[in-house]
């Protein structure tokens, strides 16, 4: 009986040791996995943010604008879209996020006959916009380049889109 009890204690000790050994052996892989997971999450966040921004900008420029004006400021390009419905204009621009000294975001400002109808952020609070630049390719095509960064992880990606205007032209 004593032998049997001794074995039981030994078994637990061995099991604990084996677990520790295995955990140590796999520690590198384990941390690597966690790191990969965090990176993938950041990438997912970046792609989602980029898709959301591009979808919003593209639908406004491609389908609803009769005239698009590009302006430059210290944060990058300001895209002013004059709608086919002549009362409405929408501006996409980059600026510092309120309450954050370094972080920048993309905003969509809607005006009806010069009266502001609201400003909506297009990027989430976790994402910082490092670059926001638009160039004219031809009279009805523009090239949009933006660089987004996840604030927590520092993960950064550049997204490039070419947008055609169906109903208007670029100034």
């Amino acid at each position: 009986m004593n032998r049997g009890r001794g074995f039981l204690l030994l078994e637990i000790t061995v099991a604990a040791m084996v677990t520790c050994l295995l955990f140590t052996a796999f520690y590198q892989s384990f941390t690597q996995m966690l790191f990969s997971m965090r990176r993938i999450n950041s990438d997912v966040e970046l792609y989602q943010a980029a898709q959301s921004i591009i979808t919003s900008v593209e639908s406004e420029i491609a389908y609803y604008s009769r005239e698009v004006v590009l302006e430059e400021n210290i944060y990058g390009s300001r895209i002013v879209c004059h709608n086919i419905g002549p009362r409405r204009s929408v501006t996409f621009y980059c600026r510092t996020v309120p309450g954050a000294s370094e972080q920048k975001g993309i905003y969509k400002s809607t005006k009806i006959e010069g009266r502001s109808e609201g400003i909506n952020p297009l990027s989430s609070s976790d994402i910082s916009v490092e670059k926001w630049h638009c160039t004219v390719i031809d009279g009805c095509t523009l090239h949009l380049e933006m660089e987004l960064k996840v604030e927590n992880t520092g993960r950064c990606k550049t997204f490039v889109e070419v947008i055609h205007l169906c109903n208007g032209y670029l100034m």
């Binding site: 009986m1 032998r3 049997g4 009890r5 074995f7 039981l8 078994e11 637990i12 061995v14 099991a15 604990a16 084996v18 677990t19 295995l22 955990f23 796999f26 892989s29 384990f30 996995m33 966690l34 990969s36 997971m37 993938i40 999450n41 990438d43 997912v44 792609y47 898709q51 593209e58 491609a62 389908y63 609803y64 709608n83 086919i84 419905g85 002549p86 009362r87 409405r88 009806i112 009805c140 889109e161 070419v162 055609h164 169906c166 109903n167």
Partner: protein, 310 residues
């Protein structure tokens, strides 16, 4: 004494259990990562494919419209194209429909792909009967009579009879409309967005009223089966076609800059109204005091709608 064999049986079990725990833990994490990656990859692939379809469709529409300026376009089924990633095959279609009775040309670019259809349309409309119809040689035409003072320099024709007036293709307007008639909110928020707006006649739709002092901005073709009323003080600056299968009532002090007004019934115009364009009525046209008009046949030029998604 009975526990010894039991304990002996479990010798080594703890080590295996520990390994199993660890392996299970790592496997769950790996599964989680694989799941997230696959989800993201699928969503990204869909997005990339959609972007390719949209870019292709817009390009086809713009190129077809540009070609149309030189020659007449025809419908076509284009060769299959492979989308990346996934090698999904798509065959874009260009559909051209002509409706002489309206008259109208509808151009549609249609791309069917996995579980979705991308479709963009553009319409070109002419005035009923076509711009060269002899009724448009005049600035004001009535099949019955014109009551009131006709402004100087305006070419007017009355008592033309019903047979000379072009027929309205009511079904055509309703079939190809891209939007219902705009509400007062739509007028104040956006204006007209170069589309064909139409409502059917019938008890539910009733009379269409543009409220007093509305500023009608932008271009649009407005068709209504029932009466149209433009209340006092309304102004319009864009190209406006008002086509009505009933009567049209225009209130006092209305100013329409670039208007084509066609009614299958009478047209009543209030005091101090100013219209630049063409007026045609199958009924009596009543002109109020101080009516000012400038004949402008350019309003009969083909109306091209914006390219819009269907």
């Amino acid at each position: 004494m009975q526990r010894v064999p039991y304990v002996k049986q479990r010798q080594g079990g703890f080590a295996i259990l520990a390994v199993l725990f660890l392996v299970s833990f790592l496997a769950i994490i790996a599964q989680g990562i694989i799941y997230i990656v696959r989800q993201q990859a699928t969503s990204q692939q869909q997005y990339i494919r959609h972007r390719q379809v949209a870019a292709l469709g817009i390009d086809l529409m713009l190129k077809t419209l540009a070609r149309e300026d030189k020659s007449e376009v025809e419908g076509a089924l284009l060769p299959e194209i492979s989308l990346y990633p996934g090698a999904e095959k798509i065959a874009p279609k260009i559909i051209v429909e002509n409706r002489e009775a309206l008259p109208l040309r509808s151009l549609t670019v249609l791309i069917e792909y996995k579980d979705a259809i991308w479709q963009m349309q553009n319409l070109k409309l002419g005035p009923p009967g076509g711009a060269v119809h002899l009724i448009y040689n005049n600035h004001i035409s009535s099949s019955k009579e014109i009551v009131g003072q006709i402004p100087e320099g305006i070419l007017a024709a009355e008592g033309l009879g019903f047979n000379i007036l072009p027929r309205l293709d009511i079904q055509g307007y309703l079939q190809y409309k891209s939007m219902p008639l705009p509400s007062s909110t739509a007028f104040s928020d956006l204006g007209l967005v170069s589309r064909l707006y139409a409502n059917n006649s019938g008890v539910s739709s009733g009379s269409y009223v543009i409220k007093a002092n509305t500023k009608i901005c932008g271009n649009g073709v407005l068709y209504h089966g029932n009466p149209i009323t433009i209340e006092e003080g309304c102004t319009s600056s864009g190209k406006l076609w008002l086509i009505c299968n009933d009567k049209i009532i225009i209130g006092d002090n209305v100013k329409l800059e670039h208007a084509f007004i066609f009614a299958n019934g009478p047209i009543s115009i209030g005091r101090n109204v100013s219209i630049c364009g063409i007026i045609v009525s199958a009924g009596v046209i009543e002109l109020g005091e101080g009516f000012a008009m400038r004949g402008d046949k350019s309003v009969l030029d083909t109306f091209s709608t914006s390219c819009y998604m269907n």
